[in-house]
Amino acid sequence: MFSYTFQWKQALKALPQMLDGALVTLQIALLSMAIGLVIAIILTLFRMSGNRILSGFATAWVEIARNTPALFQIYMAHFGLGSFGIHLSPFTSLLVGIVFNNAGYLAENFRGALKAIPDTQTRAGRSLGMSSLQAFRLIVMPQMLRIAFLPVTNQMVWAILMTSLGVTVGMNTDLTGVTQDLNARSFRTFEFFAIAAVIYYVIAKAVTLAARAFASRMFRY
């Protein structure tokens, strides 16, 4: 049986504080996506390079990032590196953890997108006199971005939600951190968590809708 009287007035007083937390959450997610995208492109190039060491490195990264929990990755960035004397602040640990995860997933998205583009297109380009770099930049890349765009926005949403794991490494400025703090003070668990859930939903939905609008303008045939 659930016996609880909701006190929204008291909880909503903390809304500005929670919105500040949401900004931090968004900031980490955006930053982690920007860095993650760069690393993912590098990893994709490594995997295409044919060099065994480079592609081995990239494959290992993708394997670990995709097949271990994000919580573990973030925890390792803080306490794992910490045991070797490398001390990252909660913000940095969280960012490093999410970047690691993002890069792995995005690299896989790019690989999938690349596979969807027939080799014959590159060959056609080459036979028209393009260099291999030109063929990649002018023919493959634009199509790859189009195919990978929606999976990338998925990862962005996932990155936003992953920031909530920061509390395990002492993060107290992001949305979940602020929520936990408010909860500890007043024990108004359900109100604060409900508000936080709504804020997360709104942010994630806004990102999805924005991405869709952007895609329909950019990727028109």
Partner: protein, 268 residues
């Protein structure tokens, strides 16, 4: 005739479906089980032995309470932040979880009279150069999220205006971070500090002094409106002290000078 049948039928359904006016105390006695929320990451108040059985002051306290009620005790492990959701969703009846009785929290749950009292101690990484509470100014400090000391320390760091405060989710994470040097010092209850330093699990840390926070009185808690149960719990705490059981348990799990549970000059 039809209306009569309908009326009788309606009456019968009302009588059968209206919940009996039993309060929580009745429910516990009736069910034969007392479910206690205990934090098992908080030695010596609550932890697990080598066979993974819950042990500690709070565990014994719950067992005593169950014995007094004539029921069996069930220890439900709840990390600090999950104590209230566990109570509200009906997974536990009572919290025996070293819960500080702040006025802010008492607006949400019902607190009993204090059943234990903590003093706060500063534990520091040996390399940090922190030798007292004042030395923590400007350093990176941490504590277990959701505890009395975390709230007090965060406030203090804000007042100092320099340094950084980090809340970790469990006591073990705080001491891990402290031992690694991720944070320079922590404030925890002196019992926890001693127990962790002595455990040998965390190297390079020592208790360096007391923290000048108010004494942290902790209470049992249950739903705010369960006066019958709260009344019983208050009497139970009183009896534990009166019969010497409180002193006995304190000696068993903590040792040293027995903290007084009453505040001078005021009732309750």
């Amino acid at each position: 005739m039809k209306t009569q049948v309908l009326a009788i039928g309606l009456l019968a359904t009302t009588v059968l479906t209206t919940p009996a006016k039993a309060d929580k105390l009745d429910d516990i006695i009736g069910s034969g089980t007392l479910r206690c929320a205990v934090v098992l990451d908080f030695p010596p108040m609550g932890s697990r032995d080598e066979n993974n059985n819950p042990i500690g002051f709070d565990v014994d306290y719950c067992n005593d309470l169950a014995k007094a009620l004539g029921v069996t005790a069930e220890i439900v492990e709840t990390p600090f932040p999950e104590r209230i959701p566990a109570l509200m969703s009906g997974r536990v009846d009572v919290g025996v979880a070293s819960t500080s009785d702040t006025l802010e929290r008492a607006k949400t749950v019902g607190m009993t009279i204090p059943y234990f009292a903590f003093e706060m101690a500063v534990t520091a990484n040996d390399k940090s150069g922190v030798k007292s509470f004042e030395d923590m100014k400007g350093k990176t400090v941490g504590a277990t999220a959701g505890t009395f000391e975390a709230i007090a320390l965060e406030k203090q760091v804000k007042e100092w205006g320099v340094g950084e405060f980090r809340p970790y989710q469990t006591q073990a994470d705080v001491f891990l971070a402290l031992s690694q040097g991720q944070i320079d010092a922590t404030v925890s209850t002196s019992t926890v500090a001693q127990s962790n330093v002595k455990s040998g699990k965390f190297s390079g840390i020592s208790v360096v002094g007391k923290a000048p926070f108010d004494i942290d009185y902790v209470a049992l808690f249950t739903n705010r409106e369960e006066y019958g149960l709260i009344n019983y719990l208050n009497l139970f705490i009183n009896q534990q002290v009166r019969t010497g059981r409180y002193a006995e348990l304190y000696e068993k799990w903590v040792g040293g000078e027995l903290p007084s549970l009453s505040v001078n000059g005021v009732y309750r």
